[in-house]
Symmetry: C2
């Protein structure tokens, strides 16, 4: 299996997207996002996404030269036009604007219209953590529905991810970051190929009946929100905030109707930061000291798994499955780069 | 079974809390909250709570004469001191302050310290809906932990409710409103008494192992968050916002460490209200028109069940179980009111 340092992951990603027409600074933002997702242990949002993004650039869905702009704003709010730039570039811009406004006015809300795929939302909600800004984000998934509403027999929602990061004063914030769909479609495929049952509550068959048989999904079935009616409620809130609330539906093109919603709030508005950090540590320490259940090593706080992965993975080369690497090379080839061009001047293990 | 009109429910609740020492205006707020919870179909948060609140007044945990005050504020934020007033009074006050600030500055965040039990959070997050204010609220449950963290074998969280209301332009907002615990402890008791299995994923035994046997709960088991690690993440975010973020832990007394966090945002800051309402209706109509799964009459949007209940229940007397009514009368007796005093001048069916 080929392996790369994180610097190599970043470098090859920059090369591909610069070759695809992006300014270096935008390519670097996409590369930083994909590399950070690998570091966080979420390889599904790493360079595996390069073929998708290259395809989107070639289709015109991503405009690599576009930069986000502000359509309207107040001291505490803004509507950011992603202008179909890379989703990561638009979301970084919106998150930084929300942070700036929250530092000045304590609280802010920023929406994004004409936003492309962003990957993990934690990347954006965590951007204010070292300045003690808590941030929430919801993103829509566009008009290709894969998730059936609670009690429904047809899909009418996207995977509708949400994230919420709360600063801590430790080396990483507490971060909730998940799709409101119970599982990713990719996991259904894996279960089918391994002939394994799906977890309960993740999929319904074509009649809307719960099933753990992956084959039922491919016979007209659908994903469902996690956690029954509660997760469904969260999915609908994410749909409304990222869509109607953001204004995203007013800026469609042929393929997309995706938007984002962020709010940011400054912890310093409510108490001294010192006492805030101490109170937060009291809660996270209390949770981490709970005796683990059978089968668990220890109790973690949301964000701990990613922080642990980041510590481990920053020290060792990252193994990339052959199939993923071949797809990345094929995507590079589509923009006129050979595998040698990607790695030129960079030592690569295998 | 005794039955009462909603006006009678309000009136008897006012009489009890006035007799317990509350100003009429505070007693009316508590009465309106309990009555509205009945209307919404959530009898568990109706007059069944009167004995708990009377007990809290007599114990000194609720100070019936207290009014909330503002400890510190900016144009966009405030820390509200509940002063151990009725939780409903403090939360109404904080929500209205958040709405006022959001109408003026588009966005606001308000925390509550020294806050008593509030009941359903939807009552507060829905207060701004007719002025197109979306609102989020999280509340802590104090230091009596009943919910084990994901992967843990001991409780270290409360039921940590959250609510999120998004205005629609219809007769009711879309409202998420739930405890982040999978089920209420009361439902475990019911399952045990009926010798029925619990739903999967709701309870763990004393070793932290999932179980559907209610008896395991009473043999040292615990509640868990809904939806596995995702619901756990939401529970921790609610814990941090309502606790450390709010500052609630800095204002303890012997019995409580509860706080609240609200965030409000004005839909009018992002697009015209007309286009916002139309876009929201497009989403809610789309969801409601999904064909129902087997066993469901139709697909509902979060908040629809409560709205339907409100329509039905506002027309007919409300039946109150004998046991609940006896407990309410006993609570009334503790403050020196007879059942006749409660109903004096009010026609009561039976």
């Amino acid at each position: 299996m080929p392996s790369f340092s994180i610097d190599q992951i970043r470098e090859l990603t920059v090369r591909i997207f610069v070759q695809a027409g992006a300014p270096v600074e935008h390519a670097q933002q996409v590369a930083a996002a994909l590399a950070d997702n690998h570091l966080a242990g979420h390889d599904s949002h790493g360079i595996q996404r390069i073929p998708q993004y290259v395809g989107a650039v070639l289709d015109g869905a991503i405009v690599p030269t576009a930069s986000p702009t502000v359509l309207q704003e107040t001291r505490t709010t803004a509507v950011v036009d992603g202008n179909w730039a890379f989703g990561q570039v638009a979301a970084n811009y919106a998150a930084d604007l929300a942070i700036e406004k929250a530092l000045e006015s304590q609280v802010s809300a920023v929406t994004i219209v004409r936003m492309n795929h962003t990957g993990r939302l934690a990347l954006f909600t965590e951007r204010g953590a070292d300045r003690d800004i808590a941030m929430f984000m919801a993103a829509g998934s566009g008009a290709r529905y894969t998730v059936a509403p609670f009690g429904g027999a047809a899909p009418s929602l996207g995977t509708n991810p949400v994230a919420f990061s709360v600063p801590t004063g430790e080396d990483h914030p507490v971060t909730l970051d998940f799709a409101t769909a119970a599982i990713a479609a990719g996991k259904v495929k894996v279960a089918l190929s391994k002939d394994e049952p799906l977890p309960p509550g993740a999929v319904v068959d074509k009649h809307g009946q719960p099933t753990t048989n992956a084959a039922d999904y491919y016979d007209g079935g659908h994903l469902v929100p996690f956690g029954g009616h509660k997760g469904y409620a969260l999915s609908v809130i994410a749909e409304l905030l990222s869509g109607p609330f953001s204004g995203a539906d007013a800026y469609t093109n042929n393929t997309k109707r995706t938007g984002g919603f962020l709010f940011a709030v400054n912890a310093a508005a409510f108490r001294s930061i010192e006492s805030y950090h101490a109170a937060t540590a009291a809660v996270t320490d209390r949770l981490r000291s709970v005796p683990p259940a059978a089968g668990f090593d220890r109790v973690l706080v949301p964000g701990d798994p990613e922080a642990a992965s980041r510590r481990a993975r920053s020290l060792t080369p990252l193994e990339i499955p052959e199939k993923t690497w071949a797809a990345v090379c094929a995507a590079a080839d589509r923009v006129g780069l050979s595998a040698e061009d990607l790695l030129d001047g960079a030592a690569v293990g295998s």
